[in-house]
Amino acid sequence: MDVVKRLLWKETSQAWPWYLLSALAAVAAIPWMLPERMTGWQGQVRDYPWMLVSLAMTVRGALLAAERGRQSYAAAHFSIHPERMPAFAFGLNLLGVLLMGLAAGAWFAINRDPMLLAPIVFFFVIAFLIGYVIAAVFGKSYAGIVAGMPWLLFFYQQFILHLRTPDSTNVDLFYSAFEQVLMYSGPLACGLLAVLFLLLSRRLPMIVRRGGMALFLVLGLASSFIIGNLNSGGFSFNHDYYAIISQRLASSDGTRVVRFVFEEQPKPYYTLQFTDYRGQREARQRVTAPYLLLGFDGPDSVLLIGQRRGEGRMRVARWRMAENRLEPVFSFRIRRGAMHAGLNDSRVRLISLRPDGRYAALQFSSLLGEYTADLWLLDLKNRRARMVLVGESAASLAWRENALIAGTPLPKQVSLTTGKVSPFPIILREVEP
C-alpha cells in the first residue's frame, strides 16, 4: 500500500500541470459552447480550447510513453515488479483522463445534450491513447506529437461536428451507425495493431519497426476515408449513381416538369422524365451519369450538365422532347469529380440559366477551402466556359442585362462579356417607399 501511495504521489507530481491546464481549458470552453452558435472569428475561437485540451492529453500520453526508460529506473527504487511500473503509470493516467472527460462531459450533458457525454469522454481517452501509442513506438515525445497530429485533427474534426450539431444523433445522415463505428474504429484498430507490431518485433531493426508503425498509421487514417468514400458499397461502389440527386424542374405555370424518377427494377436506377401536362406528352431517358438540370431553353427542350467521375470535362447537353434524344452542346475542362464533390453538402451547389437561354452559371464546391465554392459562367451561344469566382459561396444567382449577380456575403457582379468581377453593393437606406 505504501508503494502504491508513493507511486501515486510520483505520478501526480509529474502529471499535475497537464491535468490542471487541460481542466482549465475545458472549463474555459464552457462559456463558449453554451450560447447559440456564433458567427465569424468567435465561432473559430470557441474551438481552440478543445483543441488545446486534446493536444495536452496527447502530449501527456506521449511523454508518459517516452519516459518508459525512466519508469524502469524508478522501478529500482520501488518494491514493485519492473514490468508493472509502466502499466501502473499508464492505468493511472488513463483513469485521470477518463475522469476529466466525465467531468467535462457532465457539464455539457447537463447544459446541452445528454448525447454529448459519450463522445466527449471518448474523445479525451482517444487523444491520450494516440499520443501514448505513437510515442511508445518512436520512443520520443516530440516524434509522437508530430505523428499524432493527423490523428488528432481527424478526431477533432469529427468531434467538433458532433458538438456543433445539437441533435448529435443526426450528424451524418449519409452513413449508417455501423459505418460510423467503422470510420472511428479504423484508425484506433490500426494504432493498436501498430503497438502489437512493436511488441512482437523487438528484435527487428528500428527502421523496420518505425516503417511498420508508419504503415499502420497511414492505413488507419486511410481506412476512415476509404470507408467514408466507399459508403460500405465495396470497391464496386458506383460513385456516379450515388451522385445523382433528386431534382425537379418546372415551368412557372406548372405545365412542363422534368424530374428524376427512382426505379427499382431490374436493379436500382434513375430515369429522367419530361412531362408536358398540357399537351399530354412524356419522354423518358435512363440516366447512368449524374446530371444537373440547368433549365428550359425552349418549349420542349431542357438543358442539362453532366460529368462522370473519371472525366476531366463537364458536358452540356440538350434534351429535346420531340426526338427524345440527348444531344451534346459543348463540353469544357474542369477538375475530375467536380460534380461529385460536396455530395453531403449540397448548399453550395447552385445552377441558373438566364431566361433567354444565352448564359448559364454553375456553382460547385471548391477545391480551395471548406464550405466554399467556385462559380463558372457558361456562354452557351459561343460555347465557352470560364471560372469567374473562386473560393466564395453565393446563396443565390440572378441575371441583369449584362451581368451575373452572385449573392456572396459581399455581393458581386460578373460581366457577361469580359468575365470581370466587381462589387455589387447593397446600400441600405431607411427611406419610405
Binding site: 491546464l21 465569424g40 483543441m51 406548372g254 474542369i334 441575371w399 441583369r400 437606406r429
Partner: protein
C-alpha cells in the same frame, strides 16, 4: 554566427521540415492558407500552418534551458543578440522556403483551372499573408520557449497561455482593441526580456517572470479597453469603409432579375433578416428566417415558409408568406394551411393573376390582386395513408397541378393519379 546557425539547424531541422511540408501539402490540397488559397479563413485547416510554425518556434530556446547549457553557451564568445539573431534568421529562412514550397506545390498539383489564380499579384499577397501569420506564430513560439525546457515545455506554456486568454471574453469587454493587441505583444515582450536577462535563471523564476510580464500586459489591455479612448478607436477601426465586414450579408437571395433581395445583414454578432429594394436601398426588417425557406417565383413574388413557436414553446400553425412588389409598393399576404404546402410546388397563371399552391392533401388558389386564398380541393389524409400502405411503390396525394389556360386548371387526382381538368368558375372554395 555561422556556427550558431548550424546549431539551430541541427536542433530544429525536423520541425522546420514539418513546417515546410505542411505548407506545401495543404496548398496542394487546397486547404489552409497557401499562397493561392483565398478561402482559408473559413477552414479549420487554416490553423495548421501557423501551428507548425509555432511548434518550430517552441523548440527555440528549449535546448539551452536543459542542464545549464545556457550558462555554457554564454561562457563562449557569443552575445545574447547573436543567439536570438540565429533563431530569428532560421525562422526567416523557414518562412521564405515554406512560401516558395507552397507556391510550387500550388502550381504543380492544383487542377489546371486554378492556375489562373497564380499571378504575380496573388503570389505576393498570398505570400505576405502566409508569411505574416507564420512569422507571428513562430515569434510567439520562440517567446514561449524561453520559459520551460524542451518543445514540450514550450508547448505547456503555450497551452496555459491560450487557455488563459480564452477566458478573456468573461471580462465583459464588448469592444476589445488593446486587450487583443496586448494579448499578442505581452508574451513577446516577456520572452524577449527572459532571452536578454533570464535564460540562466531557475525554471520557476523564469515562469514567474514570464507570467508577471505577460499577465501585466494583458491586464493593462483589459483596463485600457474600458476607457472611452478604446471605444473611439474601436469605432474608427470598424467604421464603414475600413472593414468590409460591416457590409456583409448572409443568405442573400436575389430576385431573378436582381431588382429585389431578401438577406440577413450582420449587425455585430447577430444577423437580422431584411427585404431590400435594390434600386434605392429601401429596406424593411422582418422576423422570418430566410435561410433555405424562401423562394423567388416569377414576377418578383417571394414565398416564405414561416415556421415559429408559440409562447408555450409548441410549433405554431404553419404559415406561408407571400410578398409582392407592385412598383414601389410591397404587399404581404399570409396564407394559413394544413402544414403540407411548400414553396416548391407552385404554378403561376399565364396572365399572372393567380397562383396555385399544392401539397400532399391540399390545393389552394391565391388571387394576387387581393391576396385572398381559397382551398380548391382537399384529399382525405387517412384514405391516402391507407392507399400508400396497400401499394408501397405508388405515390398518392396532390403531386402536380398546372394551368391549362387562364381560366382552367389541371391536376393529377390525389387517389388515382388521373388527369383532371377543371374550369376555375366550376371550383368552389372549401373554406
Amino acid at each position: 554566427m555561422r556556427r550558431l546557425l548550424w546549431k539551430e539547424w541541427q536542433e530544429r531541422r525536423l520541425w522546420i521540415a514539418l513546417w515546410v511540408a505542411t505548407g506545401a501539402a495543404l496548398t496542394a490540397l487546397g486547404k489552409g492558407q497557401g499562397v493561392c488559397n483565398i478561402a482559408w479563413m473559413d477552414s479549420n485547416w487554416g490553423m495548421l500552418i501557423p501551428l507548425a510554425a509555432l511548434l518550430a518556434g517552441l523548440g527555440g530556446f528549449g535546448s539551452e534551458l536543459h542542464r545549464g547549457r545556457a550558462a555554457f553557451l554564454y561562457s563562449r564568445a557569443v552575445t545574447w543578440k547573436q543567439i536570438l539573431g540565429a533563431k530569428l534568421l532560421l525562422g526567416l529562412a523557414a518562412i521564405i522556403v515554406s512560401v516558395i514550397a507552397s507556391a510550387a506545390a500550388g502550381r504543380l498539383l492544383l487542377p489546371a483551372e486554378y492556375h489562373q489564380l497564380i499571378t504575380p499579384h496573388s503570389l505576393l499577397s498570398g505570400a505576405l499573408v502566409m508569411a505574416g501569420f507564420t512569422a507571428g506564430a513562430y515569434l510567439l513560439g520562440l517567446a514561449f520557449s524561453t520559459v520551460l525546457p524542451g518543445v514540450a515545455g514550450g508547448l505547456l506554456v503555450a497551452v496555459g497561455w491560450m487557455a488563459f486568454i480564452s477566458l478573456l471574453p468573461l471580462s465583459g469587454i464588448k469592444e476589445p482593441v488593446f486587450s487583443i493587441i496586448l494579448t499578442l505583444l505581452a508574451p513577446l515582450a516577456a520572452g524577449l526580456l527572459i532571452a536578454r536577462f533570464g535564460v540562466t535563471l531557475h525554471a520557476m523564476a523564469r515562469l514567474r517572470r514570464f507570467a508577471l510580464v505577460a499577465l501585466a500586459g494583458l491586464a493593462a489591455g483589459v483596463l485600457l479597453d474600458f476607457t472611452p479612448y478604446a471605444a473611439e478607436l474601436y469605432k474608427k477601426l470598424n467604421a464603414p469603409g475600413n472593414t468590409p465586414a460591416e457590409e456583409r450579408f448572409y443568405n442573400v437571395n436575389f430576385s431573378p432579375d436582381a431588382r429585389y433581395a431578401s438577406a440577413e445583414r450582420l449587425f455585430g454578432n447577430t444577423t437580422i433578416p431584411c427585404l431590400v429594394r435594390l434600386s434605392d436601398g429601401w429596406f424593411s426588417f422582418t422576423d422570418e428566417d430566410f435561410s433555405g425557406e424562401s423562394y423567388w417565383l416569377a414576377n418578383n413574388l417571394l414565398l416564405t415558409n414561416k415556421r415559429g413557436f408559440t409562447s408555450e414553446g409548441k410549433s405554431a400553425r404553419p404559415e406561408l408568406l407571400l410578398r409582392q412588389w407592385h412598383g414601389d409598393e410591397l404587399q404581404t399576404y399570409k396564407i394559413d394551411h394544413s402544414g403540407n404546402l411548400s414553396n416548391e410546388y407552385t404554378a403561376l397563371s399565364p396572365d399572372s393573376r393567380y397562383l396555385l399552391l399544392w401539397g400532399y392533401d391540399e390545393l389552394k388558389l391565391i388571387d394576387l390582386a387581393t391576396g385572398q386564398a381559397r382551398t380548391l380541393a382537399q384529399a382525405d389524409r387517412i384514405k391516402l395513408r391507407i392507399l400508400s400502405r396497400r401499394n408501397p411503390g405508388k405515390q398518392y396525394g396532390f403531386r402536380q397541378c398546372w394551368w391549362q389556360s387562364n381560366d382552367e386548371i389541371g391536376y393529377l387526382d390525389p387517389y388515382t393519379g388521373e388527369r383532371v381538368l377543371a374550369p376555375l368558375s366550376a371550383l368552389d372554395s372549401l373554406d
